[in-house]
C-alpha cells in the first residue's frame, strides 16, 4: 500500500463489527485499544464491547484480559464474537486456542488486512448459518448498519416481498436476531450486492428498475406461490412518474453532468438511473471498494484529494457522494449517497433499493439540480 491523504473508507475491523453487531443476541468484542472501539461505536450506535487493551497486556499477553471480558458478558448473550484488531493480530497470539472452551466466534479482521468490505465478508463467512432449502421465505442481504439507507432498504425489501406474496420466513443480513441463523431459507435477495453473503440461490438486487424487473421474473419462476402482478403494476406506475418528472426537468434544462462517488453497486445504480431518466452525462464514477476488472466505467478512488481533483477537472453540475465529497463539491449540486452523510437532519428511513429507492434518488437529484439552477442560473 502507499500513502494516502484523507482515506475515504473505514477499515476491515469496522466492516466486521458492522456486520456482527446487526445480530441481536450476539455480543461483539473488539479485541484492541479504546481507539479501535470508539469509531465503530460512534458510527453504529449499538452495544459493543472491547478489551480496551493497555500496555502490560501487549507486553505480557492479552489472553487473560480477553477471558476476563468474555466471562463478564457471556451471561447476557447467546453467543460472543471476538473481532481481532491490528496489534493483537501481529503479536501472534493464538486467540482460538486461548478461547478454547468458550462458545465464541473469532474473526481476524485487523485494519491492515483491508477495507470495510473485506471485514464485513470475513465476519459473514464466520457466522454459523444453517441453510434449509425447504424453508419458505427469501432472505435479504446487503444491510450495512453504517449505511444511512440501511433501514429504508430493509423495509423496502420487506415491502417488496409482501407485494409478491412471499412468506416472511427469511432473515436479514445483517440486521436480525442471532438465533434465526439456525433456520435460514435457501433464497436470497440483495439490496447491496457489494455485501453479498455468498450462500444459497441469489435472485439479484433491488437497485434500479431493470434489476427489480429481473428479480420479479426470477422469483416468479422459482417460487410457485409468488404473485408478480402487483409488483409489475407498481413498476409501470413508478416508471411513468419518473419519466414525467424527468421530462418536465428536461423541457427547461440540459441533462446534468454528474460525478458519482460511492461503493461499486451504489455507484452503478445511481449512474444507470440518472442516465436512463435524465440522459445525464456521467463524467466520473468513483468506487470506494474495488470495482470488477471488466467494468471500465468505474475507477477505484481512495482519497479526498483525488475526489477534489475530479471535481476541479470535470466541473460536474451534480456530485453524488458523502459529506467528504460535499466538502469539495464547490458550486455543484449535491446529493448524499454514501456514508457518512452529515450536516443535515435525517429522520426518515430513506431507501435506495426498490421502487421507493429509485423514486427517492430521482426526487433528491431533481430537487438539488433545480435548486442549483435557481441560485446559479
Amino acid at each position: 500500500m502507499s500513502h494516502c491523504i484523507n482515506p475515504l473508507w473505514p477499515c476491515a475491523l469496522t466492516g466486521a463489527v458492522s456486520a456482527l453487531s446487526g445480530f441481536k443476541g450476539l455480543a461483539v468484542v473488539i479485541h484492541g485499544s479504546s481507539g479501535c472501539y470508539y469509531y465503530p461505536a460512534t458510527l453504529l450506535h449499538r452495544d459493543l464491547h472491547s478489551t480496551f487493551l493497555v500496555e502490560q497486556e501487549v507486553v505480557f499477553g492479552t489472553g487473560e484480559r480477553l477471558i476476563e471480558v468474555i466471562e463478564a458478558i457471556r451471561p447476557e448473550y447467546q453467543k460472543i464474537a471476538v473481532v481481532n484488531s491490528c496489534v493483537p493480530s501481529v503479536m501472534g497470539e493464538d486467540i482460538k486456542t486461548i478461547l478454547e472452551g468458550f462458545d465464541v466466534i473469532v474473526i481476524e479482521s485487523p485494519g491492515f488486512m483491508g477495507d470495510f468490505e473485506a471485514g464485513y465478508h470475513a465476519a459473514v463467512r464466520a457466522l454459523p448459518v444453517r441453510l434449509h432449502d425447504e424453508l419458505p421465505g427469501v432472505n435479504i442481504e446487503g444491510i450495512n448498519l453504517i449505511d444511512p439507507f440501511a433501514n429504508g432498504n430493509q423495509r423496502e425489501a420487506e415491502r417488496f416481498l409482501d407485494l409478491m406474496s412471499i412468506d416472511r420466513g427469511g432473515i436479514s443480513f445483517c440486521n436480525d436476531v442471532f438465533h434465526n441463523l439456525d433456520n435460514v431459507p435457501g433464497y436470497f435477495l440483495s439490496v447491496n450486492p457489494d455485501l453479498s453473503v455468498g450462500r444459497g440461490k441469489n435472485f439479484g438486487s433491488l437497485l434500479g428498475i431493470e434489476a427489480i424487473t429481473s428479480v420479479i421474473r426470477k422469483i416468479a419462476d422459482a417460487i410457485e406461490s409468488a404473485d408478480p402482478g402487483p409488483a409489475e403494476d407498481e413498476i409501470r406506475t413508478v416508471e411513468e412518474r419518473l419519466f414525467r418528472a424527468s421530462d418536465k426537468y428536461l423541457k427547461r434544462y440540459d441533462p446534468p453532468s454528474v460525478a458519482v462517488f460511492s461503493t461499486y453497486s451504489y455507484c452503478t445504480f445511481a449512474a444507470d438511473t440518472l442516465k436512463r431518466y435524465l440522459d445525464a452525462d456521467i463524467v466520473y464514477c468513483g468506487s470506494r471498494n474495488p470495482p470488477p476488472p471488466d467494468d471500465l466505467r468505474v475507477k477505484k478512488i481512495t482519497s479526498l484529494p483525488e475526489v477534489e481533483g475530479v471535481v476541479c477537472s470535470q466541473s460536474p453540475d451534480l456530485v453524488l457522494g458523502s459529506s467528504f465529497e460535499q466538502s469539495v463539491a464547490k458550486d455543484a449540486a449535491f446529493v448524499g449517497l454514501t456514508p457518512p452523510i452529515r450536516g443535515e437532519v435525517r429522520l426518515l428511513s430513506r431507501p435506495l433499493a426498490g421502487t421507493e429507492g429509485v423514486l427517492g434518488l430521482m426526487e433528491a437529484v431533481l430537487n438539488a439540480c433545480m435548486d442549483r439552477k435557481k441560485w446559479h442560473p
Binding site: 491523504i5 484523507n6 479504546s34 481507539g35 502490560q56 452529515r342
Partner: protein, 352 residues
C-alpha cells in the same frame, strides 16, 4: 517503543491518542499531519473530527495523510512507507509536518524517531500509539508539548531578565472540538479587555505556523484547564512565560481569574474585579424570575463543578429541596459569567 510511561490510573476507554493529537495538529492551518499506520486509523480519526467540526460550522475536512501500512509493511517494516509519506508531504511545502505514530507501528518496532530525524525536512514527531501511549488527553497534551519544542527550536532560548509586561496573552490548549469553543474564547477576550490585555496566540486554534512562532512574545499564558498544568509548566520552562492554570469557572472563580491575571500582569485588580462583580449582578437580575423555584442538586458533593453550581443556585435564589426539578449541568462547566448566563437560560426553559 513506548514514549509515554503508563500512568497507573490509566483509563481503558479514554478515547484514542491519535484523535487527541489531531485535535491540535489539524488546527495548525498550514500543516500536514501524517498518521503512520493503516489507512483505517486515518479514516476513523479524520472522519470523527469532520463530524465534530461540522457541529462547529466548519465545512473544511481536516487534511490527514496516512502512510498506508498494509500486511507487507506490518511484516517487513513500515519505515520506508513513512519516509515516502514525509517526502510526499514535503512536496506541498507545508509550514510544518507532524508525524503521529500508532499502536501498530510502535508494536512492530518501526524507528519512527530515526526516520523523522533523518527525513531531510523538519518534522515534529508526536507519540500517538493508543494503548501504548494513553488516551485522548495524552494525545492532546503530547501534541502541545511537541509543538512547543518545535517553536523553541526555531526561536532559541528566552533572553535573560524579566519579561516585558506587554499585555499580550496566549491561550493554551483550547478544546477545539467542544461545541462552544468560540463562545469561550469571546468570554476570555471580554474579561481580558477589562484589564486592557488582549489575546496574542491561540495555541492552538486555527493558527498558522508563523503565528505560533510568535508565542514567546506573549507575557502571560492562560491554560484551558488544570489537567494541562504540565503544559503550562513546560512553556514556562522553555520561554519563561508565567501562566494562569485555568479558564474561569463559576462566579467567584471568574472574579478570582481576573484577580490572578491582573496580579501576574502587574496590573491593579480592584477596578476590573468590581466591574465584573457589577456585570454578574446585572446578569442575575435578568433571571430574577427563577427565585424561589424548587430544584434538586444535579451533582454530588465533591464532584467537579459542585461548588460552582451551589453558588449559582444560591445567587439566583433557587430553593434546593428533595423532589425539586433536576437541572442540567453542562460538561465541561461553562466558562466565565457569559457561560453561567447561557446555563441559566437553559435552566429557565426547564423550570418554566
Amino acid at each position: 517503543m513506548n514514549l509515554n510511561p503508563l500512568p497507573s490510573t490509566i483509563s481503558r476507554n479514554g478515547g484514542c491518542t491519535l484523535t487527541g493529537a489531531l485535535a491540535v495538529t489539524t488546527s495548525v492551518r498550514d500543516s500536514i499531519t501524517i498518521i503512520h499506520g493503516p489507512d483505517g486509523c486515518s479514516h476513523h480519526n479524520f472522519s470523527l473530527l469532520h463530524a465534530t467540526l461540522l457541529d462547529n460550522d466548519c465545512m473544511t475536512v481536516p487534511r490527514v495523510m496516512s502512510s498506508g501500512l498494509g500486511e507487507h509493511e506490518v511484516i517487513f517494516g513500515g519505515e520506508k512507507a513513512l519516509l515516502n509519506a514525509i517526502h510526499r508531504a514535503a512536496e506541498e511545502q507545508p509550514g510544518i509536518i507532524f508525524v503521529l505514530s500508532t499502536c501498530i507501528t510502535d508494536t512492530i518496532g518501526d524507528d519512527v524517531a530515526g526516520i523523522c530525524g533523518h527525513a531531510g525536512v523538519p518534522v515534529s514527531l508526536i507519540p500517538g500509539s493508543g494503548f501504548l501511549g494513553g488516551n485522548f488527553e495524552t494525545g492532546f497534551s503530547n501534541a502541545l508539548m511537541a509543538l512547543s519544542d518545535t517553536i523553541r527550536t526555531s526561536t532559541g532560548p528566552p533572553l535573560p531578565g524579566s519579561r516585558e509586561k506587554n499585555g499580550l496573552v496566549n491561550l493554551i490548549g483550547e478544546k477545539n472540538l467542544e461545541y462552544e469553543v468560540e463562545q469561550n474564547f469571546a468570554e476570555i477576550k471580554r474579561l481580558l479587555s477589562l484589564l486592557d490585555m488582549r489575546v496574542h496566540v491561540r495555541f492552538v486554534h486555527k493558527s498558522s505556523v508563523n503565528e505560533l512562532g510568535t508565542l514567546p512574545d506573549g507575557s502571560l499564558n492562560i491554560i484551558r484547564e488544570p489537567s494541562l498544568t504540565h503544559v503550562g509548566d513546560y512553556l514556562q520552562k522553555l520561554f519563561g512565560i508565567p501562566y494562569v492554570n485555568s479558564f474561569p469557572v463559576g462566579m467567584t472563580g471568574t472574579l478570582l481569574f481576573i484577580g490572578e491575571t491582573a496580579k501576574k500582569a502587574g496590573i491593579s485588580e480592584e477596578e476590573p474585579v468590581q466591574k465584573e462583580r457589577e456585570s454578574q449582578q446585572q446578569m442575575l437580575d435578568e433571571f430574577s424570575d427563577l427565585a424561589g423555584k424548587r430544584v434538586s442538586l444535579p451533582l454530588l458533593p465533591g464532584s467537579p463543578g459542585y461548588r460552582e453550581i451551589c453558588e449559582v443556585m444560591d445567587a439566583a435564589g433557587l430553593m434546593v429541596e428533595t423532589g425539586g426539578i433536576d437541572l442540567p449541568v453542562p460538561i465541561p462547566f461553562p466558562v466565565g459569567t457569559a457561560g453561567i448566563s447561557r446555563m441559566l437560560h437553559g435552566w429557565r426553559r426547564v423550570l418554566s
